[in-house]
């Protein structure tokens, strides 16, 4: 796409081990990212077949500005989600976007299934289908090391891999990207596993001459300065997203003990400050991001007498501290880091894993589940037992853990306790019990993520609750983020990349004719594509059923009413339908 009038798409068929390349002029107007990926998903999806059917596609895409401007670091993955059985959409940073750009591909579509476990080696000049049979059951960290030893291109190479959970079909298995980043949500790891695809290595070395050096350097300098010297990004660099723990707790919005309450007595002990003082050892960045929000924490454990210690380093973020911390009643950073490491190594989404274990713990507490199902007692605050449960979940050998591996909604449908199974439209909740914004935002969001429209921020920023204003704000943000995600801008930098800045950057690389109005129309077109995809997969917004717990535990903005929640969803649905008619 860069300086070309087409989007270059690499198609890989695992079944017949063939590739082909298409130059799609018709897709360029969608800017890349989620715009291009939505279209490619629409073309290749088999709506009536199971999410793990071998003919289902995996689509990756980068954007028009990828890796040549600061903080434009994301790659989008789209697929049919095995967790929700509808739209799968997930984002990862790391080095992947740069390596796709360097290899010369704007998008990659993978279909089919290998007979034996394989990994793909993609570079500027070839695609190889590599034998990965020996990697069966190997955890994510070791897989990275093994492939690094085999593949050239240190420093300009990205390695995506799944852990045993993806191979074993856990429906919220993740794909680890370059150790610290992930396609975490909605089960891309299980889709990899269903194709016998253990890993992908991408590297590239192509030349990309700059066409207008003066304009490009001016734009780059402006953006670099904005990203590094203003206050817009300091939150993400300093304490990182874990800075949210204390204010959300103080406001009564930190989901705790499976959302039996929204504040945690040990919040200070697991706050961003506590992690920074006691555990933070370094910060690193995705390629092309001068901010460096990846916070790596370390813990040490004594494994024998005589001062024998092991030390382990893992990345941490607010969402992980919520899901594997307060939500499970874990009151210290060391245990949270142990749980994060276990989930990472298994290759599962940390948020879904924590929320599933939270439900199971409460169900065990209430006698809905017994030791016959859980094998080990699940007790809030007991990290050692949770570590054992994570292993059982990853292994998928018992009926109960197989159900738990389908997501909390399906597990609760089987065993009971649906009123406290904290999923929204099948996707486990995020760490915000801020009010109608977070709840409805996730419900109406195309992928049911807190990042679809940032609903929690409307709860935090609005003084007076107004139904129509909230619905309008969520809708506008959902649509706007379709454009930001087409350009694969890291959403942490959404305030750096206002419309004027985006147009300046685009013009410097040849998009002279792009206008503000076009950005708006493209956003709407992309959103409509996603809505069509969801309809083709049988999704109906008005059919959403929210667990009672959301309405029983007081939120930051008071107790929520289910009638109001469903009314808001219906209002949003009306706006969707009106848009689809345009």
């Amino acid at each position: 796409m860069l300086y070309e009038n087409y989007v270059k798409v690499l198609y890989i068929n695992l079944t017949i081990e063939k590739i082909h390349v298409e130059l799609r002029e018709d897709l360029k107007k969608y800017l890349g990212g989620v715009g291009v990926a939505s279209k490619l998903l629409e073309e290749n999806l088999k709506p009536d077949r199971d999410a793990l059917d071998e003919n289902q596609p995996i689509v990756f895409a980068i954007g028009a500005l990828s890796s040549i401007f600061p903080v434009i670091t994301k790659t989008v993955a789209m697929f049919k989600s095995p967790l929700t059985d509808e739209l799968g959409e997930s984002y990862a940073g790391g080095r992947m976007a740069m390596t796709m750009q360097m290899a010369g591909y704007d998008a990659i579509v993978i279909i089919g299934k290998k007979k034996r476990l394989t990994y793909l080696s993609i570079d500027s000049h070839d695609v190889s289908f590599m034998d990965a049979r020996a990697f069966k059951g190997v955890k994510t960290n070791l897989i990275g090391r093994l492939i690094r030893d085999r593949e050239p291109g240190a420093g300009k190479r990205s390695i995506l891999r799944i852990g045993p959970a993806g191979e074993n079909g856990v429906k919220y298995a993740s794909v680890c990207v370059d150790t610290y980043r992930h396609f975490g949500r909605l089960g891309l790891g299980a889709v990899f596993g269903s194709k016998n695809l253990k890993a992908i290595s991408i590297t590239g070395d192509r030349s990309m001459p700059i066409q207008n050096l003066k304009d490009y350097l001016l734009a780059y300098r402006t953006l670099y300065k904005k990203a590094t010297t203003t206050e817009l990004m300091s939150k993400y660099h300093d304490l990182g997203t874990s800075v949210n723990v204390e204010p959300l707790n103080a406001a009564g919005a930190l989901p705790t003990y499976n959302l039996k309450q929204a504040s945690f007595e040990a919040a200070e002990a697991i706050s961003g400050e506590a992690f920074a003082v006691n555990n933070l050892v370094r910060k690193i960045a995705c390629t092309g991001c001068p901010v460096g929000c990846i916070h790596v924490g370390q813990y040490r454990a004594e494994f024998d007498q005589g001062y024998e210690y092991e030390s382990v380093s893992v990345g941490y973020d607010y969402e992980l501290i919520f899901s594997l911390g307060s939500f499970l009643g874990i009151d210290n950073p060391k245990d949270i880091l142990r749980l994060i490491e276990a989930v990472e190594e298994a290759g599962m989404d940390a948020m879904s894993t924590g929320v599933c274990l939270g439900w199971a713990t409460e169900a065990f507490e209430k006698g809905i589940l017994s030791i016959n199902e859980t094998v080990i007692p699940l007790i809030f605050g007991n990290a050692t037992n949770y570590l054992a449960a994570i292993d059982l979940l990853c292994e998928q050998k018992t009926e109960f853990y197989q159900y738990l591996g389908k997501g909390v909604k399906k597990a609760a449908q089987k065993y009971g306790g649906e009123e406290f199974a904290m999923a929204i439209a099948g996707n486990e909740m995020a760490g915000y019990h801020t009010g109608y914004g977070s709840l409805i935002g996730a419900a109406v969001g195309a992928r049911h993520s807190h990042l679809c429209n940032g609903g929690y921020s409307f709860d935090q920023g609005t003084k007076e609750f107004d139904k129509q204003k909230l619905v309008d704000a969520l809708f506008d943000e959902e649509v706007e983020r379709c454009m930001l995600n087409s350009l694969t801008i890291c959403l942490f930098a959404r305030k750096v990349y206002d419309r004027e800045t985006i147009l300046m950057a685009m013009k410097s690389i040849g998009w002279d004719a792009l206008s503000n109005d076009e950005l708006t129309s493209v956003s709407k077109e992309i959103y409509k594509t996603k809505l069509r995809l969801k309809k083709s997969l049988g999704f109906e917004l008005n059919a959403i059923k929210l667990p009672d717990r959301f309405f029983n535990t007081e939120s930051m903005n008071g107790t929520l009413e289910s009638t109001v929640a469903y009314e808001l969803i219906a209002m949003f649905n009306q706006k969707n339908e009106e848009l689809l008619l345009t």
């Binding site: 860069l2 960045a285 390629t287 001068p290």
Partner: protein
């Protein structure tokens, strides 16, 4: 006396690669980090420490200049070399002569890529990993 680039702050590198992006852009008018005269890498994946490979700014005894058969590399005031593009015959002898492996080769132009100690990378390092001395 010209200044030379020092990379003795690499312990605090976050691996953003901004130095490589700007070096390739300013000096070779290219978006590709393969065109950068400074290379940032890790040992053992991104979990490992970042280190840099770049011209060490040799003074007086300059192996790459000595190895150049066409006098395309002239000693630079302050250390390192100035690259005279029109004299280069693309023999790659300089890349082999550099014991720091800090001279790269541009397969598109058949020219070596050598740090000119211009300091633009320092301006775009968000930490203080790089400095001019």
């Amino acid at each position: 006396m010209g200044k030379i680039l020092k990379t003795d702050g690499m312990n605090i590198c976050i691996g953003c690669f901004s130095c490589m992006h700007i070096c390739a852009a300013v000096n070779l008018k290219n978006h590709s980090i393969t065109k950068s005269a400074i290379k940032i890498r890790t040992s053992g994946g991104i979990e490992g420490r970042f280190f840099s490979t770049v011209c060490l700014g040799c003074v007086e005894e300059i192996a790459c200049a000595e190895a150049c058969p066409s006098a395309a590399l002239e000693p630079r005031d302050g250390g390192g070399v100035n690259f005279i593009h029109d004299k280069c015959i693309g023999c790659r002898k300089c890349t082999k002569a550099c014991i720091a492996n800090a001279i790269f080769f541009d397969e598109d132009t058949k020219n070596p890529i050598i740090c000119k100690h211009c300091g633009v990378c320092v301006q775009f390092c968000p930490h203080e990993c790089l400095r001019m001395e």
